[in-house]
Symmetry: C2
Subunit: 235 residues, 2 copies
């Protein structure tokens, strides 16, 4: 269940509208709805067995999250992420994940520390077995733990947003075998720095972790690939 955990942002996760919100969100992130695609309120409502009202409310929130764009009196479209956006996000995330790691060093709870260690071990195991799906999930979770550990709602919320935003891109990136290995090592180093209470080191490593992730994407040409699906969103 619930990896991407919007947690408090959408309070009523199990209400009707909450489910609508999460379902649409999932369908966007999983690629069921492509970039630039138009979503009709009535159609989505029928699919989910609800009226347009909760669908519209969900749309409004997804728009603010940046996943949808509602054009007045015209329609609602799946937002495209441009190459430039991805670059900017990784630049920003590099700084903020660094800050997050620094704060986590001071504020992480023993339970969170345990889960982070376990996460690193598990991911290394699955890497050795070539289980890419599990690795992707564990990678997600690693960052979630980090966000939860910094004890800052603001930062947590912000980083989670960005994390989600590049979800589709990241998924492709991680299937690159070499990066999986390198990423695991970086996770381990971050984890150990936090455990050792070395805030400066944790911050720098987390900075680097993002930069490396982005560089890897560039090298593999994954961004260009990703950007293509974006062009037909043109006008």
């Amino acid at each position: 269940m619930a990896e991407y955990n919007l947690k408090d942002q959408v309070s009523d996760k199990y209400s009707l509208r909450g489910r609508v919100f999460h379902k649409i969100r999932e369908d966007i992130l999983n690629g069921k709805y492509k970039q630039g695609e138009e979503l009709r309120e009535a159609t989505i409502g029928e699919e989910l067995g609800v009226s347009r009202t909760p669908v519209r409310e969900a749309f409004r929130q997804l728009e603010l999250e940046g996943l949808l764009k509602m054009v007045p009196n015209k329609g609602t479209y799946v937002t495209g992420i441009t190459q430039k956006d991805v670059k900017d996000i990784y630049m920003i995330r590099s700084l903020l994940e660094g800050l997050c790691a620094r704060l986590a060093t001071e504020n992480i709870t023993p339970e969170q520390m345990n889960e982070m260690e376990e996460n690193v071990y598990l991911s290394e195991f699955h890497e050795s077995k070539g289980h890419f799906d599990q690795m992707a999930q564990l990678d997600n979770r690693f960052h979630e733990i980090l966000y939860e550990s910094c004890d800052s709602k603001m930062l947590e919320h912000l980083l989670r947003d960005f994390h989600q935003y590049v979800y589709r891109v990241r998924k492709m990136t991680l299937s690159s075998e070499k990066r999986g290995k390198a990423s695991n090592l970086e996770h381990r180093e971050i984890m150990e720095s936090i455990k050792a209470g070395e805030a400066d080191r944790a911050e720098k490593l987390a900075n680097l972790h993002m930069i490396n992730a982005y560089d890897n994407m560039l090298k593999n040409g994954l961004i260009e690939m990703f950007d293509q699906g974006n062009d037909n969103e043109g006008k």
Copy 2:
């Protein structure tokens, strides 16, 4: 036009619902609706002359922005900004304004550079005359120019949000006379670094600018003052 413009998160700024959204937002930021206060959909709707539907949609977005909290089947409450939130925001802003200044050094246009210089001069003038209102406005604008100059929609959007978020606090801070003078000097130094193309220096100065602003708030006890209205939000 329009790739999606996160700048106008709420695209239809001048539509009915858009106006509802901005009006409620303004009323929260200006303090008309106090922290912890319950907002009734029907009441707000009557005040603005609309039905509950657009009000609810606005609520949903304001919830995601963190200004409101909707409790299912109970009500909608104005979210408080805690002392901790303000601290976190300034920590985050310190990093991001630094990044923004760095990027601005590379991407600022001549027109923007001119406006920034003019802004600095004007603010120094008004400072000498004790025109605090104008200074506050120019301070706002200085940061706006900086955000526009970095040529990153993502970063611009983010910083603008935070800027707004601490609007009430900032307004109080700037009326402190000494800080106005110091702030002006810092603006000047940032401006000159950008003009000279010294990205590293601009980044560091912008970092510091935020830290100083926050420290000043602490010294003057403005945060504690601000936090009080927050306590009765209790459980």
